[in-house]
Amino acid sequence: MKSFPVKTAPAIFIISLLSWGLFLPLARVYAESDLKSALKEVAGKVEEISELKNNESLSAEEKEKKELQVRKETLEKIFDLTLLEDQDLKDRLTAPQNLSDNQKKIQKALLGQLAENENAYKEMRGRLETIETIKEVKQSAADFKNWRNTVYNPKVEKILSFTLAFQQKNTLETANNRLVKIKSDLKKLEDAKIIKKEDTSALLKKAGANLNSAGALNKEAENLAADILMKEFFPNKPKAVLADPEEAQLNLSEVKELIEDSLNQIKTAYRIFIEIGKLVRERNSK
């Protein structure tokens, strides 16, 4: 087949590949960026603490004064980051649409758990305003760490397990839309006699199967998360007979694994799209 002066056939394919909003919704990316930069600020303060420890040029008095200031600022940054995360978690919880009745109940319960954090935030705010000694700032940091480990982090785990499947649906939808678009572009190339249907049909079928599998895994994760959290928040049995928290934790990890598997299926589908792109380029250059 005669080659075109402009390598247009693959270009059409690439345009379709790149122009369909491949990535996470922008709002989420921005939120993530805020969190990352806040974490970076925390890391910067921790570095200051380390540097201060090794600083031999300051007098003991100067060092103590500076240490109080830096440790307090570090704790403030960590507190601010926790508040940012709290808001992000609320946004994630309220984002999903078309929830089932059970999912709405879980959503409400999780939002209630986040609201309970307000007491801890209020107390920490008060402490940060009155801290005057290194001992106080160290004790406040230790208490905040304990609260995060025992109260905050388990809540985050539940919220993530509940919302991950919903978030992933956007990626799934984008991938499926892309498949449709690619099919349409391949049809045009077939009509233009640039490629034959049999050149790409097996690859397209495989990509479709990957996306179907990704959808099924996503649904499984969504249902598993809802089951675990329904049992936890609205138990049918008395609390004493309930499965132990470690088991619930294990199941929540399973939700994450399902989501990861689903994402891997999507990634495989994209690799196939790329393969099709290369094939189209080869055919066009013959």
Binding site: V6, P10, L18, L22, F23, L160, I274
Partner: protein
Amino acid sequence: MEQLLTKLKTIEPSKEFQKQSRLLVLSAPQNIVPRWNFLFSQQYKTVFAAALFSVFAVLTGISIVNKSPASQSMASNFDQEKLNAEVKSLDINIQLSQAQYYQDSAEKIEVALNETSDEYDPAGDHQQRLDALLNELIL
């Protein structure tokens, strides 16, 4: 002279002449000249044909151009590197998912609070975890 003019003013055709004339006019074929007829006059024929041909040529050209895959994406050139970069971004975005962020940040904030409180993890991998947190500054 004045009398003559007055007399001429009063001259009328005979009734019979009037009737015949009316019949003659009404029975004549109505030859209405179409508004666009001038286009087919010898004067405009060539110009009109040339214009029509131009329009046809342009429309046909657009149609052919649109059907040609070679021209469907004049605006873009195929670039394998771009494609690979996009695949990479896809991986990065997945890695950047919030689940990953929260998993990382929980550990890093714990390290930061250890540093702030001077309470260290008994597991003994404090330095390693501290390095992971400080890596935030260079990533």
